[in-house]
Every structure is written in C-alpha cells, then in structure tokens.
C-alpha cells in the first residue's frame, strides 16, 4: 500500500513540474503572475510600501490638496490632500480581500451543488438545484448584486455577501456540465460497481476531473469579482468614505473631471491592471492545464 502511494505522489509531482514548465514558457502568463504578485504584496504590505500610510484613512492637509502628479506624490493628491498612490495600495487590500472572500465562499458551495446535481442527473435533486441556479442567473450578476446591496446597509461586508450570493451559481453550472457528462464514464461505473459510496464517487472520482476548469475559472473570476466590487463601490454601495477603495476613488474623482483628472484616472488604471493581471494569469493556467474554453 505504501509503495503505490509514493509512486502515485512522485507521478503527481512530475505532472506538477511539467505543468510549471509549460506555464513558465509562456511569457504572458509570467507577466500576469508577476503583476498579481506585485499587487498582492502591495496589498499585504501596504502600511510599509505606501509612502504616506496615514493618508489611507481620514486625513486632511489642504496645503497639499489637489496637486497633480509630481515627485513627492507620483499619482498626485486628492481634494483632501491625501496621496493617491498610497490610497491605491490600501485600496488593493479591499479588492484582493473581496476577491478571496467571495470566491472562498461561493466556489465550494457552487462546486458541491454542481457535483451533486450532475451526478444525480435526472432525479429531483438535479431539477431542484438547477432550477434554483437558473433563477439566480436569470438576471445579470451586477443587477442582482446592486439590488441586494442597496436593500441592505451599504458596507464592504454586505457587498461581499451580495456578490457571493450571485456568484455561486456559475460554479454550479460549470461543474454540473462536467459532472453530468462524465458520470457515465467507465471509471465512475467501475467505482459504483465495487460499492463505493456516493460521497466517495463525487469527491474522489468526479471532482478531480474538474480541477482544470475550476482553477482556471477561479483565477479569471478573481478579476471579475474585483471588477464588480469596484462597480458597487462606485455607486456607493460598497466601501464607505473615507475607506480607500478603488471604485469609490473613481467615483469621487469623477466629480473633479476634467481638471483634476488624476484623482479618478489612476484608480481606474489600477482596476484595469488587476483585472488584466488575473485575466492573463487565468489564460496561462488554462493553457497549462489544457482546458477547453471556459
């Protein structure tokens, strides 16, 4: 028993090494991974990386307000005299947190439901789960999030909950597709015949076949969740001032267009970069794991 396990592990390690080799060959994926790494580091170490960490909260210094980009403040300052670059670094914290929280909650729920529904395809379990999913995806995600968010008190936490609520169905759908198509494959039937329990089949046989699409989707999703989160804060339903959130900053800055363009533009570019990074990363992961169009 021990021998097969080590052979298994070393084979897995070989696979991982091969995948990594393939990944590293693709220059775009490396760029994406680097961008994300930088952003995550900036987010985590914001208090140290930001030149003016105290500007992240409520801080006022009208002497230095509304300064265009210069040496002291590379991205300029806003109307309260706060350094935009520092605020962006702190804004990354919220963005990354939102992405992580939403996906950590939504993915497992969606995946589990999708697995169950896919494996039990044709039964009432399948119908109930998928109909429920259909209802949630009947409206554009942003719309539902906006509605839910607006009904609850605006806050970062509520925004995260709202987005999670409308995110899980997409995982459910994707996994459902895979699970229902492979549930008739021989290896599943073999497991059934040898008396494996349903839970074992679902999590040990079917789930591993979904890893590729799941990881790709998670990487791409991080970008989208952050995008939606910034949209919510843009309309004031997410982080509240004076918390530095990229979406709120764009909204605030919008008022001072076009003269003090830097207040809105730099946070906007920051948003683009995050999504761009996760997108390229996701594409790289997809190529590496050889997944079809997700």
């Amino acid at each position: 028993m021990g021998k097969t396990k080590t052979a298994d592990l070393s084979r897995r390690w070989e696979k991982v090494k091969k995948s990594w080799y393939k990944f590293s060959k693709n220059p775009l994926s490396i760029i994406g991974a680097t961008i994300i790494l930088i952003i995550v580091c900036l987010a985590i170490f914001a208090p140290f990386a930001a030149p003016y960490p105290e500007h992240a909260g409520s801080f006022v210094n009208f002497d230095e307000a509304s300064m265009p980009p210069n040496l002291k403040h590379p991205f300029g300052t806003d109307v309260f005299g706060r350094d935009i670059m520092s605020r962006i670094f702190f804004g990354f914290r919220f963005s990354i947190t939102m992405g992580v929280v939403v996906i950590t909650l939504a993915a497992p729920v969606g995946i589990t439901l999708g697995l169950i529904a896919g494996y039990m395809k044709g039964t009432w379990v399948d119908t109930v789960i998928m109909r429920l999913t259909d209802i949630f995806v009947a409206v554009p995600p942003l719309v539902l999030a906006l509605a839910v968010c607006s009904i609850l008190t605006p806050s970062v936490f509520n925004a995260m909950m709202a987005v999670t609520l409308m995110w899980w169905p997409w995982y459910c759908r994707m996994v459902y597709g895979i699970a229902s198509s492979i549930k008739n494959e021989f290896f599943v039937q073999a497991a059934e015949v040898t008396g494996a329990g349903k839970l074992h089949i679902i999590f040990r046989e079917i789930l591993p076949n979904c890893y590729g699409p799941i990881f790709t989707k998670i990487s791409l999703d991080m970008g989208w969740v952050i995008l939606i989160g910034s949209a919510l804060s843009f309309v004031g339903l997410g982080a509240q001032p004076p918390t530095p959130d990229l979406g709120t900053m764009v909204a605030d800055g919008g008022k001072y267009m076009p003269d003090q363009w830097w207040i809105a533009i730099f946070p906007a570019i920051a948003i683009m970069f995050i999504v761009f990074g996760f997108n390229i990363l996701g594409d790289g992961i997809r190529d590496m794991l050889e997944v079809e169009e997700v």
Binding site: R131, L132, D134, I135, F136, A138, V139, P140, P141, L142, V143, L144, L146, A147, V148, C149, S150, I151, L152, G223, L227, S230, A231, F234, V235, G236, V250, G254, M257, P258, W261, A264, I265, A268, I271, M272, V275, F276, N279, I280, E293
Partner: protein, 342 residues
C-alpha cells in the same frame, strides 16, 4: 415540429424562472430591516396615516399573502406605486424603458458587428501585426469596466475635445420628436427630422461605445480563436483540395461555422451590458430604466425595485431565447440533435 416542442419547453422554463425570480427578489425586498411605509412617508407624517398606508400595501399580512397580492397586480400590469416618483411603477417603466432599450440595441449592434469584424481581421492576419494589435486591444477592452471607459470618454471627447454631448439623449434646445416607438433615433426618422436624428445619435455614441467596447473585445477574441481553430480542420483542407476558390472558402464555409461560438456568447455579453448600463446611465445622466433602477434601489423603493428586476430579467430571457434560436438555425448539430451519431 421538433422546433416547436423545443420552443414550447423553453417558454415554460422561462415562465418558471421568471416566477422564481420574482419570489426571490420579493423575499429579499421584504426581508430588509426597517419600515418601508414609514420610510416612504417620512418621519413627520402622523402614525395613523402611516398605518393606513401599511394596510394598503398589505404590509401587516404574512409574506406569502403579500406576494399573492403582488402577483395578481403584476399579471394585470400593475406593479404598485413608486415611492420615488409618486406614481405608478408601470408608468415609470413605460417612460424609461425605451431609452435603455435604444441604448442597449445600439450597443448590441456596435459590439456584434465590430467585434466580429475585428476577429475576422485578426484571424486573417494571424500572428502578424494586425492580429497582435487586435489581441492587445481586446485584452485591454475585456479587462476595463464600462464605467472606466465612460469616464475616459467623458474626459476625452466630452470635455477636452468637446466633440460629443455629455448629458442625456437630446440637446436641450431641440424638441423631442413625437413618440412612436420611444426611440429618439427612429422617431425622428419617422418624423423626417434629420437634425434630431443626428443629435440623438451623437448622444448615443459615448454611452453606447463605453458599454460596447468590453463585449466587442470578447467577441473579437472568440471569433479569432474559432476561425484559426477551424482553419486547421480537415474540412477546410478538403474544400481546398476540391479547388474551391480560397475566397469562397473563407467567406462562406469558414464564416458560418466560426460564428457559432460568437453568437452563443452574445447573449451572455448582452446580459452583462444590462448590468453595466446601471453605472453608465448614471454617469451620462441617461434617462433610462437602469438609472431609474439605481435611484429606486438607493431609496429602497421596493415596488419599483422588484418591477425593474422583473423587466430586466424578462429582457434577458427574451434575448437568450432569440440567441438560442439563431444558434440552432446556424448549427444543424444542435437543432437535429444526435439522431444517429457514430
């Protein structure tokens, strides 16, 4: 005959989903903390009037009764009163919906035509510079939220270059053409008012483009990859070996099969536009359903919120059905199913 069955099933499914959606939204709306009646009327109104209002809205009854009343009204087209505009929600919708529809249709036309065009160019010059340019642009387009584009356009074309109008659907000094469809562009054409037509078009460009660029980029990518993939297939090689002119192969045989994935995605992209429209309409002060939606959501105007979501859900459903029909029309594998697969 199969087609009708397929269609009927879809219809039934859609009705079910709409109903389920209404239940979901209704639950969410009524579950929120606070007293809607009090919020609607304000703090200074005496309690008896508030109580009467509660009675009218059936707010004291159990939630399924409330839903029942709502459903009956909805079927009749009555969604109740809006606390925000103080009139029938149905009237509100009738007023604001065409504006959003016009914007969305404009966006849809732009994103599908240019998206496919860019994808074709990229595939034709695969791996040469036009392809790389299109790829980079598509990447940026996909990653940028519509509201960022909106703000950039506002800055560039609205303020700096002063080329395009920044607010609303029609310049304030022009009269609105008589309402036939509710579309300013079509109505002004019908009335023969070319000035208004071009003015309306000018107002459509920025918000429409802001919404269209993202999906356009997506369509371009999908078209490109679909075309380059299909170019490797044996049926293209066979057609070449039969001396069919290359041009014909590209425009007829390659196109039809490569467009299918693009069209399938159109439905989903359309949906995401409906979402981003909420922000874009806000930025451009576009008097549409989405701007109305944001306003009523901020004010927790429950009747209106539910109605807006239902309308959007319905629109999305219809678009999806249309997309499915078109795809089935293009792809015999779908509409004939695997009758005899080998």
């Amino acid at each position: 005959m199969r087609f009708l069955k397929f269609f009927a099933r879809r219809l039934l499914h859609s009705i079910f989903v709409l109903l389920g959606l209404s239940v979901l939204v209704f639950l969410i709306a009524r579950v929120m903390p606070g007293d809607p009646a009090r919020m609607a009327l304000g703090p200074r109104v005496p309690e008896e009037i508030v109580e009467k209002y509660r009675e009218d809205l059936h707010l004291n009854k159990p939630i399924y009764v409330q839903y029942y009343y709502w459903l009956i009204g909805a079927i009749r087209g009555d969604f109740g009163m809006s606390l925000f505009t103080k009139r029938n929600v149905a009237d509100d919708i009738r007023e604001f919906f065409p504006a959003t529809l016009e914007l969305i249709l404009f966006t849809g036309i732009v994103m599908s035509t240019f998206g496919i065009m860019l994808g074709v160019i990229a595939a034709r010059y695969a791996n040469k510079w036009p392809d790389n340019v299109v790829r980079v642009i598509s990447y940026m387009g996909v990653c940028t939220p519509a509201f960022v584009f909106a703000i950039l356009f506002l800055l560039l074309f609205g303020y700096i270059l002063n080329l395009l109008p920044t607010i609303g659907r029609l310049s304030p000094w022009l009269d609105r053409p008589p309402v036939v469809t509710g579309f300013i562009t079509i109505d002004s054409l019908i009335a023969g008012n070319l000035v208004a037509f071009f003015d309306g078009l000018k107002h459509l460009i920025m918000p429409g483009l802001a919404l269209a660029l993202g999906p356009m980029a997506q369509e371009a990518r999908i078209t490109r990859s679909s075309m380059t993939e299909n170019l490797q297939r044996d049926f293209i090689a066979l057609e070449r070996s039969q001396a069919i002119p290359e041009r014909r192969i590209m425009t007829k045989y390659l196109m039809r099969i490569s467009i299918i994935p693009t069209v399938s995605v159109l439905g989903l992209d359309f949906a995401s536009q409906l979402g981003w429209a909420f922000l874009v309409e806000l930025i451009f002060n576009w008097p549409g359903l989405s701007r109305y939606g944001i306003n009523v959501m901020m004010r927790k105007d429950l009747n209106a919120i539910v109605a807006v979501i239902m309308v959007i859900g319905l629109l999305f459903l219809i678009v999806n059905i249309i997309v499915d029909i078109v795809v089935a029309g293009l792809d015999p594998r779908i509409r004939l199913g695997a009758e005899r697969s080998k």
